[in-house]
Symmetry: C2
Subunit: 395 residues, 2 copies
């Protein structure tokens, strides 16, 4: 209507997480809230050297308009890494460089979703995904997570609905829950989607941050026909470049290219060349091993503190990688109330309700362990245990 | 529908311009087709130094997740420059950093457009704008351009329609036509839009590339209430960073922030810091003066060649800045046919039809003068004149 915003804007609100992050400006606050990688492991000097070489050797190329798909050698690197680490054969032209994997979510939604289409999401699901999809006015259908991944019985039912269009999965160390799909669940999910012509977004930014157990195949590897596999340099190099990618077969890629052209022509080319130079001149595996070891140690301290200090009625997940674990309070407790109490004790986290599309999850919360030192984790978890106990007494 | 792409994808096609650019890979071809700034004027060494300082002094900050609006000091610089150069008072929080101004077009369309809304566009209009808006399924209403800007009588009529939502204007050295709005037209446009509660996108990437005449106020400066003013570093620093901005008042900015969060969280932060460092350590005005002088000289040669070599039935615009001029062939000639003939002579340009939303413009074409040396302009224009004459004889 004249002078009015679009309909889609009536469904959206500002990110609650981004609002929380403002509280964490206070240096006395220990934050388990953000989803931030640990900046102590950013490869600053190697990136500085890479940038210097790019400006010196490829300045005119780096600074000019560039192809929509992205820098070919960088796409070839990504394709090669899929082959080496997952056994998937990927052509470089099946990789589109995006502004972080968040833009991957937006572009896929843009080419797929009409208003009213059903988007099947894990419950809980990644808030940024819910926000990206909301702009295209779908109906969300939550599918519960179990210990070994999404509940395939519920998924089977949901996928059969004639309006079902897309399933959104984070199979490795999910944000927010830390849950990982078993091999069997991955294969079953692929079969259910194929049976029902459902597209898949497999959002996989944490894959390389596994510190326990063994690598498992991508869901996409079982059937690539309708699969969009999203990856990112944010967790293994640095998020400030906003550099991610979509891996998809040619018929899907054709549509993504059209959407990408209209959205922003192409991704930052200077940064693509810097990251590619960095990858050529450095040992990425060694770098990732350092991050993995650090996050593993931090996760172990957090788990030990929960086991030691939290009331036994509180349950939690045991992630095999990534940056998050998930806490479930006794059903009568509200994580939003706990947030207020804990903030007074100078410790914060993200309440779980915003990760649910159906108003559930009020007694759940997300803890980030990647961006807090061992000492601070000990202090922060002690404070959080204190706050939980105070609430349980009051309840 | 199950297994199908979204409705919006049935309206889109790959950019014809991007297809043309493939022809220009041949080094014998002289191209007036691309919309590329001249890479000889990229400030490569100053940017190299700026990048080095950013990694050395602000590495952890630059590489981490960052605020959605963008780097505050960079936004303050942009706001300050509006004050100095246009007299507009702009708050830094009225600036959102985007991935080039192309993303500005997408985000504004995202928050404004419902299917069927009327988008009023100049005829001809910028192809990238048409592509961005098409994804939101509007109805396009073309409004002719005259020598002093958009036809305000036609705009008045179109704006009165109850479905009219948005007018898209490029008032300075328009891409593709090179036309500039007069002061009177700017003021009249603002009034027409206010009378009808129509939003404005004022796309202004070329403002600083004026080499003739005097600076004119932005349309937004007459009434900012529903105005989105888009700017870019692509033409005054370099396009490879994909760094632009939207300037809009708070009630519009609130919605843009929500859209930006869902779309890609925030723009590349490393590049924001590098550009800001570059702007602090260098004289931007001196740099722009160099670009301006070069483009002015190239534009003069192109105009001289047209006057000397083209048949007198061919008319053309005389841009006061920017990168393009616009040629109109006699009505019986097709610029698409001319493209084929000219490509055989190893010279290319962009036919005008794709810049029109109503199937007109078949006898028009766009010539870029920014990215070709004086010598090549002479040779290329001679070849193009040859091709036109061959076609006129044949017609």
């Amino acid at each position: 209507m004249k002078g009015q915003f679009a309909q889609r804007m009536s469904r959206t609100k500002k990110s609650f997480i981004r609002e929380i992050l403002k509280v964490t400006q206070n240096p006395n606050v220990i934050s388990f809230a953000g989803g931030l990688p640990n900046p102590n492991y950013f490869p600053i000097e190697p990136l500085r050297a890479a940038a210097d070489r790019v400006f010196a050797e490829q300045g005119k190329l780096a600074l000019q308009y560039a192809p929509t798909l992205g820098h070919e050698p960088l796409r070839a690197f990504i394709a090669q890494r899929y082959a080496e680490r997952t056994g998937m054969a990927v052509d470089p032209d099946e990789i589109l460089i995006t502004n972080g994997s968040q833009q991957g979510l937006d572009l896929v939604a843009k080419i797929l979703l009409d208003p009213g289409d059903h988007v099947l999401v894990e419950s809980p699901s990644y808030l940024g995904g819910i926000q990206a999809f909301t702009m295209y006015e779908p109906e969300f259908v939550p599918v519960p997570l179990r210990e070994d991944g999404v509940d395939t019985a519920v998924l089977t039912q949901a996928a059969a609905h004639p309006q079902s269009k897309l399933f959104y999965a984070l199979p490795n160390f999910q944000n927010p829950s830390g849950i990982t799909y078993s091999r069997e669940t991955r294969q079953a999910v692929s079969q259910i989607l194929a049976n029902n012509q459902i597209f898949l977004i497999e959002d996989d930014p944490y894959r390389e941050l596994r510190f326990l157990g063994e690598d498992l195949p991508t869901i996409a590897s079982f059937n690539r026909e309708r699969a969009f596999l999203l990856g990112s340099f944010s967790k293994i190099v640095a998020p400030g470049f906003r550099m991610g990618w979509i891996c998809a077969p040619a018929p899907l890629m054709d549509k993504l290219i059209i959407a990408k052209q209209g959205t922003d022509l192409h991704s930052n080319y200077v940064s693509q060349l810097i990251i590619h130079r960095y990858l050529q001149d450095n040992d990425l595996d060694a770098h990732i091993a350092t991050i993995r070891a650090a996050y593993k140690a931090q996760r172990e301290i957090m788990v030990a503190m929960i086991e030691e200090c939290f009331p036994s009625e509180v349950t939690f997940t045991l992630p095999e990688g990534g940056m998050f674990l998930w806490v479930t309070l006794p059903p009568q407790l509200s994580a939003m109330d706990l947030f207020e109490t804990a903030a007074q004790e100078n410790v914060v986290f993200v309440p779980g309700a915003p990760f649910h599309v159906d108003g559930t999850g009020n007694n759940t919360l997300r803890l980030n362990f990647s961006n807090t030192s061992a000492e601070k984790i000990e202090v922060g978890m002690t404070r959080l245990a204190q706050a939980i106990k105070r609430m349980m007494v009051a309840a």
